[in-house]
């Protein structure tokens, strides 16, 4: 059998695995791989400006297409720069394979130039990782890495390849799928759990579906099934930040997002429910608030592909370890087989309508300032009017929460945000990745003035690959979310949360060959948004919004769902030490 170099084996495997795009940055320890990719006819390499950018692009690509994102970086600083994005992908269960160059095997452990212990550093921020010291093992490892990254609970996998292994040769033939010795994620639910869940659902008087990112990860079919089971049972649906779009925001049973910045009706429904069906969510602290007051009178069913998510934070009555889509299909089949009908939930809905009447997302407006919520609402209206496929990414902060609250998502894979890690600098590269995977979609990054600066260098990447991404900055001249917490907790001592010395974003746009638009006041808002959408290439919009707006509703850390702050009048400006100590 003809032998191939490690680098060629890698490229061959990527082809076999259907990889179309690699986000990367070259360096000494990956030169053989870059040579193998030189002018490659089918694998497109996107040259980023910083390795963190590559990881978030891969995440954006993966989240919006359902395919794994692939990253290629050099040893040492290339690998360490990728760590934030790898951790982000772990927290949000994004399938990603990161290939890192390493110093040659004989130099490992000698503090060689650009040596870092990549497998050591990434051991706990990956689903799994490998150091491959033999080119003959490379093909098997790469195929296994993609399998692990994309199955079960998806996540990032790192493959560290020493430079001499990229050059040394080994026989290559496409590996046959083999059963893994120890990795067997459970995807099909046990019948008993499905049975209990269906019977509890049929008997419930105040049920709620609490859905999360697992529904998105399971694939579009899972969203369809969620809609079906919601329709069959008539139960209301809420979602975490990560799950938005799985159930349509325009759907009749939609309560809005739950949790710290969730709606009044979503959080009260959780608090008063007699049955919570948790579908691919993980009872995160941003969702539960104070644990001993979380959904006190309810029984709980938890569907999750990761057994370690079950009973981790909240004890549940029925645990269903399975792929969400598969479990929902089983539940629907059994519901129909038993001839169940939707119960009369009119009392429950009347209660919910009472909470809805609070209009918890409302905000006061004035003639001079653009309210950030209004900017998002107008963006939503304008986007919907285009009839195009819309993908929204966000950075992290108030703007992220306002986007989650005021932009409506009707389909999965259209909302890309950093939930678990809350990584500022995620949104813009994620938009580039999403645009790579969805060339015809309108991809908009809703950003903050501070966050956007964390990976702003990627403007060059968008220019180079002619990607028409839009950055819509809600510029409040503050790290608004930090400022809000300081207002709530530290009597408005705004320690280091003012965005001083901001660049002129319009000039910056021009410097990179983009279009820059400034929106100064309410009168320009609609036209500015329209101009952004109508401009063919990449556009940055500096939308000047009210500087001191706060994001409401808000359940302060450690408070119960029923202790929600609805407007500024409820802010005291100080907190107990116990509350201050929470994140």
């Amino acid at each position: 059998m003809a032998e191939k170099s490690g680098a060629d084996i890698l490229v061959e495997c990527l082809l076999d695995l259907g990889v179309e795009v690699v986000f990367g940055y070259p360096g000494g320890a990956v030169l053989p791989i870059y040579d193998a990719l030189f002018n490659h006819p089918t694998i497109k390499h996107v040259l980023v400006r910083h390795e963190q950018g590559a990881t978030h692009m891969a995440e954006g690509y993966a989240r919006s297409t359902g395919k794994p994102g692939v990253v290629l970086v050099t040893s040492g600083p290339g690998a360490t720069n990728a760590v934030t994005g790898i951790t982000d992908a772990l927290m949000d269960s994004i399938p990603m394979v990161v290939i890192t160059g390493q110093v040659p095997t004989q130099l490992i452990g000698t503090d060689a130039f650009q040596e870092a212990d990549t497998v050591g550093i990434t051991r706990h921020c990956t689903k799994h990782n490998y150091l491959v010291k033999d080119p003959a093992r490379l093909a098997g490892v790469i195929h296994e890495a993609f399998h692990i990254a994309t199955t079960g609970r998806p996540g990032p996998v790192v493959i560290d390849i020493p430079k001499n292994v990229q050059i040394a040769t080994a026989p290559y033939k496409r590996p046959e799928p083999v059963a893994h010795a120890s990795y067997h994620p459970q995807t099909k639910a046990d019948a008993a759990g499905i049975d209990s869940a269906v019977e509890m659902l049929a008997a419930a008087e105040r049920p709620v579906f609490y859905t999360g990112g697992g529904v998105i990860n399971s694939g579009p079919e899972a969203s369809t099934l969620l809609r079906e089971i919601a329709a069959l049972t008539g139960a209301p649906v809420t979602s975490t930040l990560m799950g938005l779009g799985a159930y349509p925001a325009t759907g009749p049973q939609w309560l809005g997002m739950l949790g710290m910045h969730g709606t009044y009706e979503a959080n009260y429904a959780m608090n008063q429910a007699d049955l919570i069906i948790c579908v691919g969510a993980r009872f995160d602290d941003r969702v539960t608030g104070r644990l001993d007051a979380f959904a006190p009178g309810s029984r709980k069913v938890h569907i999750d592909i990761d057994r370690s998510s079950i009973n981790k934070i909240v004890d549940v009555d029925v645990a269903i370890v399975a792929d969400v889509g598969s479990a929902l299909a089983d539940m629907i089949a059994l519901w129909k087989a038993r001839g169940h009908e939707a119960a009369n939930l009119s009392g429950w809905w009347a209660q919910i309508d009472g909470w809805r009447a609070k209009k918890s997302l409302d905000y006061a407006e004035n003639a001079t300032d653009i309210m950030p919520q209004r900017a998002i609402a107008d963006l939503y209206t304008a986007c919907t009017a285009t009839g195009k496929d819309i993908i929204i990414t966000t950075e992290v902060g108030q703007h992220q929460m306002w986007a989650a609250q005021h932009f409506g998502f009707d389909a999965p894979n259209k909302w890309l945000t950093s939930g678990g890690l809350g990584t500022m600098g995620y949104g813009f590269p994620a938009a580039i990745g999403a645009q790579m995977g969805n060339p015809d979609s309108l991809v908009i990054c809703v950003a903050g003035d501070a966050s956007i600066q964390m990976n702003i260098q990627e403007m060059g990447t968008a220019s180079q690959y002619r990607l028409p991404v839009k950055i819509f900055i809600l510029n409040n001249e503050y790290m608004g979310m930090v400022r809000q917490w300081q207002e709530l907790t530290y009597q408005s001592r705004y320690s280091n949360s003012y965005s001083d010395s901001l660049p002129d974003f319009v000039k910056l746009a021009e410097a990179y060959g983009w279009t820059g638009i400034r929106i100064d006041g309410p009168a320009d808002l609609e036209s500015g948004i329209r101009a952004m959408i109508d401009t063919p290439g990449p556009v940055i919009v500096d939308c000047r919004v009210a500087k001191l707006s706060n994001c409401f509703p808000m359940i302060p850390s450690g408070a119960a769902h029923t202790e929600m702050l609805l407007d500024p009048s409820q802010v005291k400006g100080s907190m107990t030490d116990e509350a201050k100590a929470l994140v």
Binding site: H124, H128, S182, R307, N311, D315, A581
Partner: protein, 171 residues
Amino acid sequence: MHIQEELNQRHVLSLTVSNEAGILARIAGLFTARGYNIDSLTVADITPDHGVSRITIVTSGPPKVIDQIMAQLDRLVPVHKVTDLTESGPFVERELALVKVAGIGEDRIEALRLADVFRAKVVDTTIESFIFEITGTTDKVDNFVGLMRQIGLVEVGRTGVVGLIRGKDAI
């Protein structure tokens, strides 16, 4: 404000894992990263091809934390099987210790007498010292070491616990 602590229970966990580079770091690191306790950890390969190792971990925590530890270990890719010996019926646990004791005269005789009671073996001796080898449960070894401390304990080496479920079946 003061930090609250929870009540702990001792559990012996037995894992089979693929014997690959970094596996120990992966497991030990999981315990540190998630703030779980390790009282002892032993590892050795157990198959003719050296492909699989058994790791025995003695840990402690509230029941909910033990359940999390099991689930977290189980989702590591190279982990084949995790069993909580403490929960899965009667089991045998042993550890081995080497205990060096120095002394002369009556102390020497007392040390030998106690060793006999504990069925510890003398594996090295000089005119002024013994090294005893003792095998047993952690409690038994603790007791023996405690008594030797009163006689003239010099130092101790312990293997940590290994355990197997009783009866004819594998776990």
